[in-house]
Amino acid sequence: MNATLRRTPLFDRHVAAGARLVPFAGWEMPVQYEGVIPEHVAVRTGAGAFDVSHMGQLHVEGPATGELLQSLLSNDVERLSDGEAQYTLLTNERGGIVDDLILYRVSHGHYLLVVNAGNREHAYAWLKDREARGTEVRDASDDYALVAVQGPEALERLGLSDAPAFTHAMGEVAGIEAMVCRTGYTGEAGVELLCPAEDGAELWDAVLERGVTPCGLGARDTLRLEVCYPLHGNDISPATDAISAGLGWTCALETDFTGVEALRRVKEAGPERKLVAFVMEEKAVPRQAMTIEGGGEVTSGTHSPSLDVGIGMGYVPSAQASPETELVLDVRGKQRKARVVKKPIYRKESP
């Protein structure tokens, strides 16, 4: 294993549990414990825990913070009150997506950004370069452990009461203080628990002692793809814009932020291609970079454990983007049929 890979505060726990470790975005992370499928099922039907401490935490503080973030992020920062959060995009001048992140408003003049592991340095530099008078951007990623606990039984297992999605508050789990965030990447109810790095292993142990299944990045990927949450680097990137990606709902186009004019133009003209979700009609597993007849390309693909069928997302010309459109994928030289479906691919009431 590459000696330069970073390790989270929970690394020793993963090794002790016999997890299979893989390099991911510069980190040595568990891809699975028992197996991707049982872990996926645990989250859909019970509760699963993920070590997502590799993600970055950037604090932005100071009296001018709201204005700075409003000028750099796609969503409307002003709509947030203390204790609320929103999914938003860090955009470039072309409207491309530098990173997708969750913005938590801690208080007036203090926001926390949770960014992708692979974009941590870049997002930090992006913000730091644009830091204005009266703001301070700080990368605090190494100070924290972040544990996602997801699934229909997640709250009950942790002894937490229900709360609206995209809110956060300080709380306790098994006596360990954490920022309890009602956010996640699985399409299930649950929380993400942010605590000091030194308390991470104890928190992880306490969560597992409550019968929560440890899950790796493998299940995290199948879960998020079933509900069509984009993965930065696959489905969205600095070269793709939010409108084409179907993330127009994260863009407050009436506000003034980097790239807003480019996005307004895409919205007005209509995107040339769109990020669609599809289900395989034939036995095959779609994979990133496979071509789709007519000029499309798969950006994410896997086998859906919930639906037991190949699923994916990809960009296709807008004429091919309507639900029920038949697509033909090149699966290592073989033509395999797929069908465009409405997002998300998996819904709770699905059979």
Partner: protein, 130 residues
Amino acid sequence: MATESYPDDLRYHPEHDWARVDGGEAVLGITWYAQDALGELVHYEAPEVGAHVTKDQPYAEVESVKAVSDVIAPLSGDVLEVNEKALDEPETINGDPYGEGWLVRIKLSDVGEVEALLDPEAYRAHVAEQ
């Protein structure tokens, strides 16, 4: 999932494939080590019956949630039968890699090729080095 084993009645290819030779025919599959490395299999892309498979060349694909892998032929021959159960329930390959999880049965083109395969002891040593 099955527990690790490399049965004595099989011959092995270093790319983690096994052959059960019976006269002029052989049944082929992947070893415990191969299925464990791949994880839970969700798709088996089989050759057609009648297709020719060539020793040391890919003849099928097995695919887990995370990745796809070529299956290398340990011996040359023509495909007589494809395991339908492995097609319908690829997890059978994980559960019973040397039994119900076999992949194809072939008519051997050259029985002499068997001599080049690893015996169980040599294959176990090969796995230990991985």
